[in-house]
């Protein structure tokens, strides 16, 4: 008797957890398809005729598809640059022993600890001086401050798992070190590169502070653009919800399909050698 009650408590906690995780997301999706007057009703009305007007007014007749493209270009470039520079550096750290190696690696990883606002303000002045504010480059450089260290660390972990013998065979056959990286290492670490790239993309896609400071109009990504609904007299809640719904799709897909790499990506696990 007591056992079965206990079992049910466990089950109820599981159900409650699921509800707490999912409810806000589902609620937002419902908000996005509500007619505007239903959004302001209390108690909330559960049945209404769905409308896609909010999607239409933001992405089709409004400028939000442009902001979405900005987000895509910034996150895409950030992840490609982080992947190339990051895997080269990771290869250097994993395959060679050299003086100052530990110090250098520690400094690179410590960059992830620095609060973004501390870097963002002086960087803002630097960018104003060289006149690249409100360009994609400005935001990409901002994002590299913490995404590049992430990529180096993530790729180092993966490369450590690749046995040395494979490259040695290629090196003996007269391949250069760089050639070994391109012909042997990159093809076999395709999946790791993909996973790392996806996470770099997600971090850049979700970032707000650098984008807020470095963009004004042309290069503005969605997280910055969406905060501007407040300027209007009535809050466009259904529109905010529509933009948010579209914008979280990549993150949700990553959550569902890249679960295994996830713990590594968000922690420093694997750093404790």
């Amino acid at each position: 008797m007591f056992k079965s009650i206990k079992k049910y408590i466990d089950l109820w906690i599981i159900v409650l957890t699921l509800v707490i995780i999912l409810f806000p997301v589902i609620w937002t999706f419902f908000l996005s398809i509500k007619p505007i007057w239903v959004a302001f009703l209390s108690p909330p009305r559960l049945f209404f005729t769905p409308t896609f007007h909010a999607y239409w007014s933001t992405f089709i007749s409004g400028p939000y598809s442009m902001y979405l493209l900005n987000s895509l270009i910034i996150a895409g470039s950030t992840s490609v640059i982080s992947l190339i520079l990051g895997s080269l550096a990771a290869y250097g750290f994993v395959r060679f022993k050299f003086s100052g190696q530990r110090m250098l690696l520690f400094w690179i990883l410590a960059n992830r600890m620095i609060p973004p606002i501390v870097i963002a303000l002086p960087m803002y002045i630097m960018m104003a001086r060289i006149r690249i504010l409100d360009t994609y480059l400005a935001v990409i450089l901002g994002h590299l401050t913490y995404i590049l260290p992430f990529s180096i660390w993530m790729m180092s972990g993966f490369l450590q798992g690749i046995p040395l013998e494979m490259e040695e065979a290629a090196l003996i056959d007269g391949c250069s070190q760089f050639g070994a990286l391109v012909r042997i290492i990159i093809p076999i670490s395709r999946n790791s590169l993909f996973a790392t790239g996806i996470f770099c993309f997600a971090f850049s896609w979700n970032e707000f502070l650098f984008a807020l400071l470095f963009t004004l109009y042309k290069a503005k990504p969605i997280p910055v653009a969406v905060t501007e609904f407040w300027a209007e007299m009535t809050v466009g809640w259904t529109e905010i919800a529509a933009v948010c719904t579209i914008y979280i799709i990549p993150g949700v897909l990553i959550a569902l399909f890249l679960r295994r790499q996830f713990i590594r990506a968000f922690s420093l696990e694997g750093m404790n050698k």
Partner: protein, 290 residues
């Protein structure tokens, strides 16, 4: 030829290193320079050296002390909530229960939603006139005053709830990974010796889990003190300065009030605090890095 081989590692590392020096080391150094001047964005061509004046001024300013306090309270409550909820759910997920696979799959979602978006999601639910949360609270007899985000008694906790919603999944997953990798023998031995479930948990599981617990706490602490996005969206530091965390204080000093020299000084103090916390936890937890 020999020399060339010695140069190899540097060739691989150089591109990343140069980039990081440009985007991270240089801005930090620039901060150091600015912190010693009265750099103001309203008159960017008139910069005077003022020595340590900015640093002396910082600690005489109630707003800064307030932001330190808000950040610490926020971090303290948020971390203890995340950790206790996270540990409870992680332990639950090690048992064979229906639906646990689904929980494991879905706890990641809030982490991958942009914090700005999470801020909006919760701001709508918190709205006094039409939000679902005040509606539910009012209907079970809890008064919400002028609104959960405008009453100074509830606003900080309302923000903490959002932060806990976003990040508890991370705590759950790391602790769960730790729990699953625990050695089985000590627990079995204790069971044979007749220890109760609770004794096993407090005397064997928790001590064995210590390295993971410290790692989780360190990672979360470093993250939570940087909090900015959800503050920006949900309260903008208000009401008054009730939710003005350090990041937001620096943002306001630099980007709104344009006092870059002063913002730079606060930034350096902030970096010092974050590094201090890291070193402290690494020392206590005896975690080796790199």
């Amino acid at each position: 030829m020999k020399l060339k081989r010695r140069m190899y590692p540097y060739l691989f590392i150089a591109p990343a290193l140069i980039t990081l020096i440009a985007v991270s080391a240089y801005p930090l150094a620039y901060n150091l320079y600015m912190s010693l001047t009265d750099f103001n964005l309203a008159r960017p061509n008139n910069i005077n050296f003022v020595g340590l004046e900015n640093f002396f001024y910082v600690f005489h300013q109630p707003s800064f002390v307030n932001s330190l306090k808000v950040t610490l309270i926020f971090a303290g409550i948020a971390l203890s909530m995340e950790f206790s909820i996270g540990l409870a759910i992680a332990v639950l997920l090690t048992k064979p229960i229906r639906g646990k696979g689904l929980v494991e799959l879905l706890v990641i979602i809030p982490l991958l939603i942009p914090p700005v978006v999470s801020g909006f999601i919760w701001r709508y639910m918190y709205q006094q006139d039409y939000g679902i949360i005040p509606f539910v609270l009012n209907s079970i007899g809890i008064e919400t005053g002028t609104g959960l985000l405008t009453e100074s008694s509830t606003v900080l906790f309302a923000l903490i709830v959002v932060e806990v919603w976003i990040t508890t999944g991370f705590v759950i997953l790391l602790l769960l990974a730790g729990l699953r990798n625990l050695p089985k023998e000590p627990i079995e031995a204790a069971q044979i010796d007749g220890a109760t479930q609770f004794q096993i948990f407090t005397h064997i599981t928790l001590p064995l889990l210590k390295p993971i617990i410290f790692t989780v706490l360190l990672l979360r602490l470093v993250d939570v003190v940087k909090i900015f996005d959800i503050i920006y969206v949900l309260t903008g530091g208000g009401p008054g300065e009730k939710t003005e965390v350090i990041s937001y204080f620096i943002y306001r000093a630099g980007a709104v009030l344009l006092r870059m020299g002063y913002a730079a000084a606060v930034s350096l103090i902030f970096v010092g605090i974050v590094l201090g916390i890291c070193i402290l936890i690494l020392k206590i937890g005896r975690i080796k890095y790199v």
